[in-house]
Amino acid sequence: MEIIQHLLDGFLIAFEPLNLGLVIVGVTVGLFIGAMPGLGSVNGVAILLPLTFLVPPTSAIIFLAAIYYGAMYGGAISSIMLGIPGASTAVATTFDGRPLALKGLADKALIAAAIASFFGGTVSIILFTGFAPALASVALDFGDQEIFALMLLAFATFVGLGGDDIPKTIFSICIGLVFSAVGMDIISGTPRLVFFDITGFLHGINFLVLAIGVYGIGEMLWTIDSTRGNPSMSKVQISVERTFTHMKDVLKEWKPAWIGSLLGFFVGILPAAGATPGSLMAYGISKMTSKNPEGYGKGEVGGVIAPEAANNSASTGAMLPMLTLGIPGSPTTAILLGGMVIWGMVPGPLMFVEQSDFVWGLTASLYAANFFAVVINILFIPVFLWVLKMPFTILAPVIFVLCLVGGYAPTEDMHDVWLMVIFGFGAYLLRKLDYPLAPAVLAIVLGPIAEPALRQSLIISGGDATVFFTRPIAGPITIIAIVLLFLPLVQLIRKKRKKAREAQS
């Protein structure tokens, strides 16, 4: 009952005119960002975060969460219409969305995506409301040892489940952590890693500088390089009558919707997994359990519903560890977490006690964002189709300008803008060689929390590293983290043995 009371209080905050307005604007902006090929929720949130210094923190996060949410809806639009995913989270949507569009059923696919997103979003917010306070109350007992163990777990999931090249993933994590160490050493109070004695490094490397560099400038360069010619858009017929018949068809497909929603939520909680693998897994399982698996890949509406329900559900799932443990579940929530630190908050379980307005306002606004996203999405389909025709040579320079002012705003130092450009170029080149960059962004946000946690734990224990194994909560977490770290190695050995056995027989 307490939860319902909190949630009602939250709705009062979410429905304040400013916040409600921001939800609507955020969802609309998010839908456009998601629909643009090459831009996803993480790019939108990274580039626009500096703009939110104008409003109070609660409103700021409500706005950013609405963008996050809207982008998850929007990603489907270009997946279906252009056949290229609007964001990596909508990759699975192209598998059946594109064939449907080629059959002349683009409107059906778009409606299926919108309704599935709404369903996934709603299920996950209800789960979130139920789980979050319980998890937070457990996490209240966490000490430095547990916090460091959780950080280790977050990074281990990238190595064990990320699926990228392992040395490159670990490199990415470490470079993010080292960049976060630039500036002042908090414990001894001495300057540290001030490269070439440039004074700009004394205030550290703001996470936004790396995030905008990677997700703004780097991403734009990557998209310009990889898209080359203009992709062709499918034709679509839209009428009210067709919309209603499609809606009826879509509402019959409850199974892929449930699979996507539940799987997405739980996969979304894991830091390395998140919406992209969640939606791919949902697609796979929905195909496996379908009565008509042969139809998948050729234009089965269930193949749009499952991944779209999953990616929206995962975006809410990713907020669960961010708010309760202070560990982001996705790169986008890592940037939200960084934003919370800038706004002067301490992310973690204490927020449920000390900043309960903030937490519940955000939770309630997710319900609102979900509602507005589906309405705006369906009403604005024609507008999105028109915008998708906009040439990239207009969008790209505008984004570069936004990166410039966005990179300058947090610290008001041109040094950071130059650093951002260097990071952007570096990110583009490294990405061409398949270096994963999301771990670095997560690491630069978590570094300032992980390092003191490790050092204080070691001071308390007098240098005894076994504290991470012997404490009742930290122990199991550390062990899971280590298992995850070595998971790829075990898989490799098993593969080799299997090969050797096959060769023998």
């Binding site: 703009l51 210094f53 104008l54 090249d165 392992i166 040395p167 490159k168 670990i170 490199f171 470490c174 470079i175 952590l177 080292v178 160490a181 050493d185 414990i187 001894s188 001495t190 540290r192 890693l193 490269f195 400038i217 734009m220 360069l221 310009i224 390089d225 080359r228 040439p391 040579t393 207009i394 790209a396 320079p397 505008v398 570069f400 300008v401 410039l404 002012v405 300058y408 705003a409 008001e412 041109m414 803008v417 130059w418 450009v421 952007g424 170029f425 583009y428 080149l429 490294l430 061409k432 060689l433 398949d434 390092e451 490790l454 050092r455 204080q456 070691l458 001071i459 240098g463």
Partner: protein, 165 residues
């Protein structure tokens, strides 16, 4: 691609060694009653980075990753051209901020990008180049009170400051 993979790994390895060396400016060992010294955390992390780069180089020698086998060009002529033009114009955008400020640099950048790279009409180009700085000014300088750099154009803004700030 194969050559780029090796060159990148070597450059990053050298960078890791530089970071390790730079970390030793602070104590990287155990300080009594203070725990690990200030340099320990970045030092060991940079050490792991170095190991990862060596690992990547070993993979390269054994040709066990897709990049180390790829015969594709790392950047073809089109990619290099785009990178030089787009990257160069972004560097120009930031460099010009030091001279003519954001409000001089942004229109110049937009004019160049839309007209030269995008081949859009003069009407569209001029509209975007004129509207963008106005929106930025009202959002950042006026609403958020973040005074963006004006370079040598600062005096032109005094009357605007009097009205809006």
């Amino acid at each position: 691609m194969r050559r780029a993979e090796l060159v990148t790994a070597v450059i990053l390895a050298v960078f890791s060694i530089y970071l390790m060396w730079k970390s030793t400016e602070l104590n990287i060992g155990w300080v009594k009653y203070e725990g690990p010294g200030g340099g320990a955390w970045p030092f060991w992390l940079a050490g792991i980075m170095l190991i990862c780069n060596i690992w990547t180089i070993v993979n390269w020698v054994r040709r066990s990753t897709p990049q180390s086998r790829s015969v594709e060009q790392f950047m073809d002529a089109h990619a290099i051209r785009m990178f030089v033009l787009v990257g160069g114009s972004v560097v120009g955008l930031v460099a010009l901020v030091h001279v003519v400020g954001v409000y001089g640099s942004v229109p110049i950048f937009l004019l160049f990008y839309l007209r030269v790279l995008g081949r859009h009409t003069w009407r569209l180009t001029a509209t975007v180049a004129a509207v963008a700085p106005v929106i930025i000014f009202f959002f950042f300088d006026v609403a958020m009170r973040i005074v963006l750099p004006k370079g040598y154009l600062e005096p032109l803004f005094y009357p605007l400051y009097d009205i809006f700030l």
